[in-house]
Every structure is written in C-alpha cells, then in structure tokens.
C-alpha cells in the first residue's frame, strides 16, 4: 500500500503530520506515476501530489530531464514568481518510494475543452494569452547558474530527430516531407542566447482557475535551447481545440502573447516563433504516428492509442495552412 510508505515519509519531514489518506493514482505509465493524496495534519489536511518512478525504474527515458531535475526546476520557477506548485519533499532512499518528489496540490483545471468553454473561466480567458507570455519570459530568465544539468538542443538537431522518427514510421506522408524540407530550408540556427526552455508549454500542463494560470507543470522535456520554441509550441493549432483564430491555446492572438513576453523584458523573434510553430505541428503529427505504433506493437492495445494515429492528418492540414495557404 502506497499510503503506508507515504505516511512514514511525511511524518519524517512534515512537522505535525500524522499520516496520509485518500491516495489515488492519477496517471501511470510503466516508468512514471502520479498520485494525489492528503497529508493529515491536526490544523487541517494539505492536498499533495507525488510524482515518482517506482523502485527499479530509476533510469529516465532519453528525452526526459529526470525527476530530480524536474523538482529543482519547479522550485526555481516557484521562487522566481512563476505560478507553480510548492515542492514539499524530494524523495530520498530512506523514503523507500522510488525516485521523485512530492508537491503541494494546486486546485484548478487542466482540461482544455473545459477551460475554453466553461463559464467559470470566462473572465480569465481574455487575459491568458498575455499572461502566458509573461510566464514564458520568467521561465526563460531563470538563472543559468542555478539550473540542474539539462540536455542542449538546437533546431538542426531537432529537425534531424524528427526526420528519423518520421522515417521509422515507414509510412509515406508527402505533407510531412514538405514540412521537413521547409524546416531544413528555414533553420534559423542557434539562438543569440541559449536559455532554459520548458519544452512542453501548452494545455494539459497548465493548471488554470477563474483567476488565470495557477501552475505550470511537467518539466519533463525541459532543456537548454532557443526560448522561441516555447512560444511556437503553444501556438500549434492542435492546442486551440477548435478556437482556430486564437493561436495562443485558443485564448488570444500571438500579439498578446508577444506583448506579455516583452513586458517582462525579453525580446520576441516572430520568425523563429513561426519556425517552431511549424516544427511543433509536425512534431505532434509524428507523435500521433508513434503512439499508433505503440498500439500496434506494444503493450498498450487501447482504442485511444489506435485512434490517435488517425489524428496525424489534422496536423497535415495545419501544416498546409501554414506552408501553402489557399486564397480567401
């Protein structure tokens, strides 16, 4: 029972805590799990989240920053004023819970369709494009000297990686070829200044409330590279959920994202943002194919995995709208 292990752990580092209750698994792959639970305390319970790799799954997959790095980045973001969960505890061997960390639970919504449709978020929506710009700028400005060890990525390396992933699917997609060619021809080269890139700054990794963004989650893909990548990725049409005329997550125009970013004292390079929007669109399309392959070859033989393969064509039309737009 995970509650026994968590109870032992919290009593050791949370003064006054008597144990935990209501542990529920929120998500779990083979190598990483997320649990929600309550820390029981005489002055009131505290909602908490455990992210961990269970014992025996210590090694992080190649693209991931690793859970210790994630905890460190989340802590740094919190200290810099990025809406972020407080990191309560980084797991140690004596916790006997695997590797990972425990953070305070932030109440709010991560499901894009609810955030974009429900009345509860109506007053927050018009502000979000600008706020996301400000948050991205703060993330990119986190002090280099304090960052954990992270991968470095250049546009050139990412194009190569995407090309290999696409080729491994072994299913010809002329539109993807066109996009790969466009990316190679428009490779902007290294950025003026290499910075921390969140790497997955989009719906699903943002907890949003009626007052706006409450937390940025999931630093798994954080790396050092071109900060414009985060701005391009959040504009990918796949994250607009039908609000196709509001590029920033379905909330608002690019201009507001850029204004928020520049208010925070950083410069936007709109051409680089467009480059990364094209790259992000292709990346999501290739990822759809990859998930379908896991349905075909792997242990996850679910209908959802199968159907996601049929969403690659959504990114094909998005790529054509970006690269070969038709007249009005």
């Amino acid at each position: 029972m995970i509650e026994d292990g968590l109870s032992r752990s919290v009593r050791a580092w949370y003064p006054g805590a008597t144990g935990v209750t209501a542990a529920t698994k929120l998500s779990g792959g083979a190598s990483q799990e997320t649990w929600s639970f309550e820390i029981v305390h005489p002055s009131g319970n505290l909602g908490a989240i455990l992210r961990r790799a269970p014992k025996g799954y210590g090694a992080a997959p190649t693209r991931a920053a690793g859970l210790a790095a994630e905890a460190r980045l989340m802590q740094l973001a919190y200290e810099a004023g990025v809406p972020s969960p407080r990191v309560l505890h980084v797991l140690e061997p004596e916790d006997d819970l695997g590797t990972g960390f425990i953070m305070a639970r932030v109440e709010g919504e991560t499901i894009a369709r609810k955030i974009l449709r429900d009345a509860e978020f109506a007053s927050a929506r018009p502000k979000l494009a600008r706020q996301l710009g400000q948050i991205a700028a703060t993330i990119h400005g986190l002090p280099r000297a304090k960052l954990p060890e992270l991968r470095r990525l250049t546009a050139t390396a990412e194009i190569g990686q995407l090309a290999r992933e696409y080729q491994s699917l072994n299913w010809p997609k002329p539109v993807f070829e066109l996009a790969l060619r466009w990316l190679t021809d428009h490779d902007p080269g290294p950025p003026q200044q290499e910075m921390l890139v969140h790497g997955d700054f989009r719906h699903g990794n943002l907890i949003i409330g009626s007052d706006g963004v409450r937390a940025v989650l999931d630093w798994e893909l954080a790396h050092l590279g071109d900060p414009m990548e985060d701005l391009g990725w959040i504009c990918v049409n796949s994250w607009r959920f039908g609000e196709i005329d509001k590029p920033v997550g379905g909330f608002g125009p690019r201009e507001e994202l850029f204004a928020g970013y520049e208010e925070a004292g950083r410069k936007v390079d709109a051409d680089r943002v467009k480059f990364y929007e094209v790259m992000g669109t292709l990346r999501w399309g290739v990822m759809c194919g990859g998930m379908m392959q896991r349905f075909r070859l792997g242990p996850d033989h679910s209908m959802e995995r199968a159907m996601i393969g049929r969403r690659a064509s959504e990114t094909e039309i998005d790529l054509l709208r970006l690269l070969a737009p038709r007249g009005t």
Partner: protein
C-alpha cells in the same frame, strides 16, 4: 461477390445500436471508452463509403504528377522521395493542389469535425 448487407451498413448498424441504446446506460470511464469505440466505427463507416472514390482520384493525380504507374503506396513513396530530395516543391505545377485535395480527403474520413477542415471546406478549392 458477397451478399448484402454491405460492410458499411453492418458497421453503421452496430455504431447506431451502441450510440442509441447502450451509451445512455453507461457513465464514467466506460461511457468514455464507448464514445471512443463509436467514433472508431463511424470512422470505419466513412472510410468504407469514401475510400474508393478518393483513392482512385489520388492515384490519377499522382500518375499525372509523377509520370509513372504503381500502387498508391508506391506512388506516395515516390512523391515523398521527390519532395525530400528537392526535385518537387510548392512551385511544381499541381503539387499544392494535389496535397490539399489528398489531405482534405483524409480529413473527411479521419476528423470531419476538425475546425481547420471545416474552414477549408467552406473555402473550396
């Protein structure tokens, strides 16, 4: 020749039964899974209905563009290679139109409710 009803009619009958009679009796995770299952069957029905016509038109366009024959898979591989090698690009007469039409035909099967598809459908070729 196989007898009636056609696969399209059979698949549609199953999807309609699940949608009209079973879905209202489920909730939570099973209701979600059933929605995915119905979506899958609807996709198969659309493909069975549309595929023959769109495949034939695609093969004809590819034949004209590439000046060669072959299966759709072979033709698409050849086109992909030519784009990758820079032999064909958006300046090539007919290429953009071909990619647009092929993509629209995919969306008609995969995700006809996708907002960008509906926008482009309204725009026409």
């Amino acid at each position: 020749m196989q007898d009636e009803p056609t696969p399209t009619e059979l698949t549609k009958a199953v999807a309609d039964f699940l949608r009209d009679d079973i879905a209202p009796t489920l909730s939570g995770h099973n209701a979600f899974k059933l929605r995915v299952a119905i979506n899958m069957l609807d996709l198969v029905t659309r493909q069975l209905t549309l595929e023959q016509g769109s495949d034939a038109a695609e093969a004809l366009r590819l034949h004209r563009l590439l000046g060669m024959g072959g299966s759709l898979m072979e033709l698409n591989r050849a086109l992909a290679d030519k784009i990758a090698g820079g032999e064909m690009d958006l300046q090539t007469p007919g290429l953009a139109e071909h990619l647009w039409q092929t993509t629209m035909d995919k969306l008609a099967v995969d995700q006809p409710g996708y907002a960008a598809y509906k926008r482009e459908l309204g725009r026409g070729a």
